[in-house]
């Protein structure tokens, strides 16, 4: 649809009372989404939000679009079916770290692998919120929760690394304290043809308050957030005094710019066909306590699943639409008189 539809933020909000805990990071994500949507110039009718289960998964109830609150972990699979059946729709998927990386890990990786045209938002709060505070697949080692009273002994997932390992063609990270950056990342995800994954660092102020403070608090951002900008050297710090290089082993490392040849700093290229460098960037921080890259890690061109599958159907039909009577006679037949 090339027509631009004029809408306002209000048009994208439903009449339902939002039921997240006061102070939850999900509110700012919702606002960012409702603000971004009018920028796209699309119809609410052509937009669908599909979620699984968890706090994040309540998201569709608050977006005045078509929507489905499905079952735990499976949202990417519901979205895949809808996107295959109705490729003209804009299909968004919303889930948390438990939904997407634990019970639904299989669906997430396969949706990314196939590169079906859906936009997946992973609200990562590093905890199970709706079930009241168990450790999640992104909780750090040693995390003390109700189900890990002596500290978690399970190595966490890095959502961006998982996505890149799953052949994702678009991977980005943002955080709930920066509305503009969220809007930009959502928009980039929307623009990308294929499966997009946006990890949103999201504060759960009830069960895991301040989990991202070390990187996302305004005072810490300059020193702790590494903003990835396509075509530019990767530098951060108040005076851009720190940078990223890739060493001979392929590992990404943080350096003081003053200590290295400035030309050796890594120039960020989202479009590299090989995800190795993007993966190296994803490993810069072992968690949100170290300088952490945000922005688009990867936006590479790859065959989109739904259109490829649709093209096979179109090709077959171009040779003649199916004829049921002829199909029934496609094996040897005989006449009885």
């Amino acid at each position: 649809m090339t027509d631009i539809t004029i809408t306002t933020k209000k048009d994208w909000a439903t009449d339902q009372e939002v039921r997240w805990c006061p102070g939850c990071g999900d509110y700012s994500i919702l606002t960012a989404m409702q603000l971004m949507m009018p920028e796209l110039g699309v119809r609410r009718e052509d937009t669908v939000f599909i979620s699984g289960i968890g706090c994040a998964a309540r998201f569709p109830y608050y977006m005045n679009t078509y929507g489905m609150h499905s079952i735990h972990g499976r949202a990417p699979a519901f979205a895949t079916g809808l996107a295959m059946a109705r490729p003209e729709l804009d299909v968004w998927v919303v889930g948390g770290d438990g939904d997407m990386l634990s019970i639904g890990g299989n669906h997430l990786i396969h949706a990314l692998r196939r590169n079906i045209n859906i936009n997946i938002l992973l609200f990562n709060n590093m905890i199970y919120g709706l079930t009241k505070g168990q450790y999640s697949p992104t909780s750090e080692l040693g995390k003390v929760t109700k189900s890990s009273p002596m500290g978690s002994v399970a190595e966490p997932f890095n959502a961006v690394s998982v996505a890149l390992g799953a052949e994702a063609s678009f991977v980005a990270r943002t955080h709930d304290m920066d509305r503009k950056h969220m809007q930009e990342m959502f928009r980039r995800a929307y623009d990308h043809p294929g499966a997009s994954l946006v990890e949103v660092y999201q504060n759960c102020n009830v069960f895991n308050d301040g989990a991202f403070d070390a990187v996302s608090k305004r005072a810490n951002r300059d020193a702790m957030l590494i903003n990835l900008v396509h075509g530019e050297q990767i530098r951060f710090g108040a005076d851009h005094e720190r940078g990223v290089v890739v060493d001979a082993t392929g590992e990404a490392k943080i350096v003081n710019v003053a200590d290295v040849d400035e030309g050796s700093l890594l120039v960020h290229d989202e479009t590299r066909p090989n995800p190795a460098v993007a993966f190296a960037l994803s490993r810069l921080a072992s968690g949100p306590s170290e300088p952490t890259p945000v922005g688009v890690f990867r936006a590479a061109k790859r065959q989109e699943y739904g259109s490829a599958a649709g093209a096979q159907v179109a090709d077959a039909r171009a040779a003649g639409a199916g004829d049921l009577a002829a199909l029934l006679r496609s094996n040897p037949t005989w006449e009885v008189t």
Binding site: E45, V48, M68, F78, A83, L89, P332
Partner: protein, 625 residues
């Protein structure tokens, strides 16, 4: 070339049951299938039973590796692949050992004697060669050096002996075709088509087939030759079809009848995978098939497509249904049309993946969390899977509900003649999508409430893209009408009642119970699913013997046919033979307070008509005694 005399016909018979048995690599399924096709084109009635191991190639020559194909050919109407084979073709000792017990008394045994050497005998567990130790006395044994003769006839063609050996199944096919005066042209034609471009294979298979055909003559087996007249079937065009193909075509027909594109989300599983294969070949019908990452994604993708307005289907077998249970519960709550096909197999767990069973009925009805009623429909013969698929789609689309369609491994792979329906005469399926708002909000604006119901208690189907009908649906309990999340106790009670009532209402729009009872019997045999075939044969045979038994068949398991209770009440005795430990019988007893008795068989095989006839005799004797 010598002149081949007209075979001296040993006689004419009404029917014959032939079982081809050999190693998994011997091509027995293909042999049986070709023999069936030739018989079909000749005009016989037939019914087949392919049986193969779960392993693709179990160790050669072992009992585990035996693959068999049984076919009954008849000049009369039949509904089973036959109880006891009258002819057993055994390609190796393992096949003989595993299948000899099935052969009818004084039956004919055709064996590939070349395979009866020490190593193969040992693998099959024979201490002595059964062809020589007198243990086969009582059968007509025809030992044929099939491997050697095939090699010999292929040698002048320049085909390597190892390659030639693979054609020995065509030798067997030629011999059996000769015995039953089957036309040879269809098989020769098929060989040429199937192996087009592989000249050596065509030459070897054709030579082996002709050699087998000639062997009967030269070995003076003329006394074995019998003919089976073409059956007197209804006039029309027929084809040979198995259940999985018929079901696939039924889904395509339902798509055409409803005008909705077909979406299949599926994950490979025996014995359902052939439906995925068949539909994947049919892109020209606008079908989208999706091989998902797992069973859960398969059903979930289908529900996503249903939300988008497609005729959505997921196909699987019992273990897959177990995995899909949570998502089917969501479909019940969302009230979206969805067809779940369960091609049942032996269970529990991996069980007997290639064998048949009908033990998922309770799971179909009750295998979900919460109160989550959904219609359950079953198919009863291979070709009838076509109609059953259309019926499942009709209910799903008309009543906006998931529907479980039960078939089984036997129906899936068995084949029979199918009189092609007139596709123009098939009843269209009317589907209406919501296009208008149906409520006015406080500000006087039109809004769409997804859970406002019509007289069928069905909610509107509003697909994404429809102007002004944005709405959200989900697994949380919904307020009656608005569909907004509701935790209100009274509302949950009301919604639970509505979900149950709307499924029960479907009974008003369903066929009545099928009753075959020409003479007002006292005894009724009640069936569902493929057990229909054996019971149909058995009650008809019993009637020929002057015994009176009714056959009551249930095609709709939930809701039940609205006259079923009344039908059952007519009989002094109700017996329910099932390929499970007694599932329908429990439902009938619970629903209708009828003292129905259970007869079970859980052996991975269908009932034989003889087993059912024994039951009829026993029950009638008890009734009269």
């Amino acid at each position: 070339m010598t002149d081949i005399a007209e075979p001296q016909v040993g006689g004419e018979v009404e029917k014959v049951v032939i079982r081809f048995a050999g190693d998994s690599g011997d091509g027995m399924q293909l042999t049986g299938d070709r023999f069936t096709s030739a018989s079909a084109l000749f005009g016989n009635e037939f019914s087949t039973l392919p049986e193969f191991p779960a392993e693709i190639r179990a160790p050669a020559g072992t009992l585990a590796g035996v693959s068999a194909f049984q076919v009954q050919i008849s000049s009369e109407e039949i509904s089973t692949p036959g109880d006891e084979p009258t002819v057993l073709v055994a390609m190796n000792p393992a096949a003989l050992k595993s299948d000899l017990s099935r052969l009818a008394a004084a039956g004919t045994l055709i064996v590939n004697e070349d395979a009866f050497e020490e190593r193969n005998l040992e693998k099959a567990g024979y201490l002595e060669n059964p062809l020589e130790d007198g243990s086969l006395t009582g059968f007509t044994v025809i030992p044929v050096p099939m491997t050697r003769l095939t090699r010999e006839v292929c040698e002048p063609l320049g085909v390597k002996p190892r390659v030639a050996e693979r054609s020995k199944n065509f030798f067997a096919l030629g011999l059996v075709s000769w015995m039953y005066t089957r036309p040879t042209e269809p098989t020769i034609e098929w060989i040429n088509q199937k192996f087009s471009g592989q000249e050596a294979v065509i030459a070897a298979n054709t030579a082996a087939f002709n050699a087998g055909h000639a062997f009967g003559e030269t070995a003076e087996l003329g006394s074995l030759v019998v003919s089976i007249r073409p059956a007197e079937l209804d006039p029309g065009t027929y084809t040979n079809i198995n259940g999985n193909t018929a079901l696939s075509w039924g889904l395509i027909a339902a798509s055409q009848l409803s005008g909705l594109p077909l979406f299949l989300g599926s994950y490979p599983i025996t014995p359902a995978s052939d439906i995925l294969h068949e539909l994947s070949k049919r892109n020209e019908f606008g079908i989208r098939t999706f091989q998902a990452e797992d069973e859960i994604a398969a059903v979930s993708s289908a529900i996503g497509a249903a939300y988008g307005g497609h005729l959505a289907v997921t196909t699987t077998s019992g273990p897959g249904v177990a995995l899909k249970g949570e998502a089917i519960g969501l479909a019940v709550s969302l009230e979206l049309p969805l067809i779940v096909v369960d091609v049942q197999r032996g269970g529990p767990s991996t069980g007997l993946p290639t064998k048949t069973e009908a033990s998922d009925l309770m799971m179909a009805l009750y295998g979900r969390h919460g109160e989550s009623p959904m219609p359950v429909v079953s198919a009863h013969s291979p070709s009838q899977c076509f109609d059953a698929a259309i019926e499942a789609a009709r209910i799903a689309l008309t009543y906006k509900t998931p529907v479980m369609l039960l078939t089984d491994g036997y129906l899936a792979n068995s084949s029979e003649p199918w009189k092609l329906p007139d596709v123009d005469a098939l009843e269209p399926i009317t589907v209406e999508f919501a296009t208008e708002t149906n409520q006015v909000n406080e500000d006087g604006e039109g809004v769409f409430w997804p859970y406002i119901r019509d007289e069928k208690l069905t909610r509107p189907w509003a697909v994404p893209g429809t102007d002004g009908l944005m709405h959200r649906i989900g697994g949380l309990e919904k307020a009656d009408g608005s569909g907004n999340v509701s935790y209100d106790p009274g509302n949950h009670g009301r919604m639970t009642d509505l979900r149950q009532q709307r499924i029960e209402l479907i009974a008003e729009d369903m066929p009545l119970t099928s009753v075959d009872d020409p003479d007002g019997a006292k005894l009724a045999l009640v069936t569902w699913g493929s057990t229909w075939g054996a019971v149909r044969s058995a009650v008809r045979r019993a009637r020929e013997d002057g015994l009176s038994a009714a056959h009551v068949h249930v095609t709709h398991l939930h809701p039940f046919h609205r006259d079923l209770g009344e039908v059952l009440a007519r009989y002094d005795r109700v017996v329910v033979p099932e390929l499970n430990m007694g599932q329908l019988v429990k439902l009938l007893r619970a629903e209708f307070l009828v003292d129905a008795q259970s007869v079970n068989k859980v052996m991975g095989q269908p009932f034989t008509a003889a087993e059912i006839e024994d039951i009829i005799r026993r029950e009638l004797a008890e009734l009269e005694g």
